[in-house]
């Protein structure tokens, strides 16, 4: 029984970690002092709606710039601007959708 639970847990973790967001985004952000959650809230504070946030994230990931970044000048001066993403449009969309669903506010307030 215990074996089954462990196998099931491993499979679940494997599936969970196999999505594009966890594979391509999370590893790099682990090294930064600001969490993905905090960054999400920064973007949300600037761009408000799901449509706007997703649009600006996609654009930023493809064309990173200091002006478009929601992060502070100090943060950018220390850690710089990321390299343009090599992911395809479809992959970027999937990754951003996962990012939104994981950290969104709508539906998570009580």
């Amino acid at each position: 029984m215990v074996k089954k639970i462990i196998i099931y847990a491993l499979i679940t973790i494997n599936i969970y970690s196999s999505n594009i967001f966890d594979q391509k985004c999370v590893p790099c952000h682990k090294e930064l002092p600001t969490s993905l959650q905090q960054m999400f809230m920064q973007y949300l504070q600037l761009y408000s709606s799901e449509k706007n946030v997703k649009y600006i994230l996609k654009y930023y990931l493809k064309h990173p710039s200091k002006e478009l970044s929601a992060m502070s000048d100090l943060f950018i001066d220390v850690y710089g601007i990321k390299e343009p993403s090599k992911l395809s449009d479809e992959e970027l969309k999937k990754a951003i959708d996962i990012y939104w669903d994981r950290y969104k506010v709508i539906g998570n307030l009580k």
Binding site: Q37, M41, L44, Q45, L46, Y47, S48, S49, E50, K51, N52, V53, Y103, V105, I106, N108, L109, K110
Partner: protein
């Protein structure tokens, strides 16, 4: 005479009242419409004043709520309880008007207005500078107690009532002022007709009585002919006199209905009009059976006189007039000029004359129409131009 005079004046007053009522109806409709428009603007102004008073309080609530949202934004998702306040309900919406979280009782939001009242709920829409939790719009909602509305309705009702009464009196005063010249003219005309009619009575009666009294046996045929002409003319004037008297004095009198045999009455009236008919060599053809009608004698006499008078007036020289009385029928047929089919519906209208060569005011058939209508007597008219006219009265 004074009783009759009052009746005529009353009749004029009736038409004056009708005009007065019409004017007042139009006036009151306009005043009501004007007051409704003013009332609407007053109500709207008062509503804006009330909302302006509420705006300060709601702005304060919005400021406090924004601070709480800011705190929640920084601690989300560790803290995810939306800030609540007993004094108001609130909601947050993003730039695409998507609801992020709402505690509102009245869910419909008008984002174009900063403050408004809908279904007893006042909504204050605050646009945030920083989109905490992604919120661009913060809605603060309080329930309206409706006290201001009750006060406005009370004021509006009292003022409207006072204004309405004032305008009503003003309307009556204005209407009387405008109607006065018309009323004076009508009264003057009425008095003139009454006086003239009254003054005609004595000489006309004298002429007719003296003609009757004259000894025809001692007169030359030439003079008899002249006398018949005078008699004929006097009787024509007499019919006109009676019509005018009827219209000005008698039509408003209370009816004295009785059983009248038209057979007898027709005989009398034919005898009366015989002189007039003879002058045009018109022959009376009578087919008279008993015909009982329950009616005022003066009125049915006016009906028969006018029908016979018309039949003589518009008849050919040497023509005939056939009168038939049967149970529930009085029929008169002449061999006169007739009336065109398209003019038949108008022949009983007042002042309608189809032949200007003949005298008269065109009031005879109008009197017939009014009396028959009053007693529910049906009129059927058939006429052929150049051949004659037949009028049937059925009841």
């Amino acid at each position: 005479m004074s009783a009759s005079k009052n009746k005529v004046t009353n009749s004029i007053l009736k038409s004056e009242k009708k005009s007065l009522y019409r004017f007042l109806t139009l006036y009151i409709t306009m005043i009501t419409f004007l007051m409704l428009v003013l009332g609407f603007y007053y109500f709207d102004t008062q509503k804006q004043i009330m909302l302006a008073q509420q705006r300060a309080t709601l702005s304060k609530y919005a400021y406090e709520q924004t601070k709480k949202l800011k705190t929640l934004h920084h601690y989300f998702p560790e803290s995810n309880t939306y800030p609540r306040d007993k004094r108001f309900k609130s909601a947050i919406y993003d730039t695409d008007y998507v609801e992020i979280f709402s505690l509102l009782k009245h869910k419909h939001i008008n984002f174009d207005k900063d403050i408004y009242i809908e279904d007893s709920y006042i909504h204050f829409v605050k646009i945030l500078d920083n989109y905490y939790l992604g919120a661009k719009y913060l809605i603060i909602e309080i329930q309206d107690d409706g006290k201001w509305l009750k006060a406005i309705y009370k004021k509006m009702t009292i003022y409207s009532l006072i204004a309405f009464i004032l305008f009503l009196f003003l309307g009556i005063f204005l209407a009387k002022l405008f109607i006065k010249p018309m009323r004076d003219s009508i009264l003057l005309l009425d008095r003139f007709i009454k006086d003239t009619t009254h003054e005609l009575n004595t000489p006309l009666s004298t002429i007719l009585a003296n003609i009757e009294m004259m000894d025809r046996d001692v007169m030359s045929p030439k003079n008899i002919k002249k006398l018949d002409r005078i008699n004929s003319a006097a009787r024509s004037v007499s019919v006109l006199y009676k019509d005018l008297t009827y219209i000005t004095l008698e039509q408003n009198k209370i009816n004295k209905d009785e059983e009248i045999n038209l057979k007898e009455l027709t005989k009398q009236r034919v005898e009366y009009f015989d002189v007039l008919a003879n002058a045009k060599k018109i022959e009376f053809k009578l087919d008279l059976d008993d015909s009982i009608l329950y009616i005022d004698r003066v009125k049915i006499t006016r009906v028969i006189d006018n029908l016979i008078s018309n039949a003589i007036k518009y008849n050919k020289r040497g023509g005939y007039i056939k009168i038939t009385t049967q149970k529930n029928l009085f029929s008169i047929e002449d061999s006169g000029i007739g009336i065109a089919k398209d003019q038949l519906p108008y022949m009983f209208d007042r002042y309608m004359r189809f032949n200007s060569s003949e005298g008269g005011f065109g009031i005879g058939l109008s009197i017939v129409k009014n009396i028959t209508k009053e007693y529910g007597i049906e009129i059927q008219t058939t006429s052929t131009l150049g051949e004659g006219t037949r009028i049937d009265l059925k009841w």
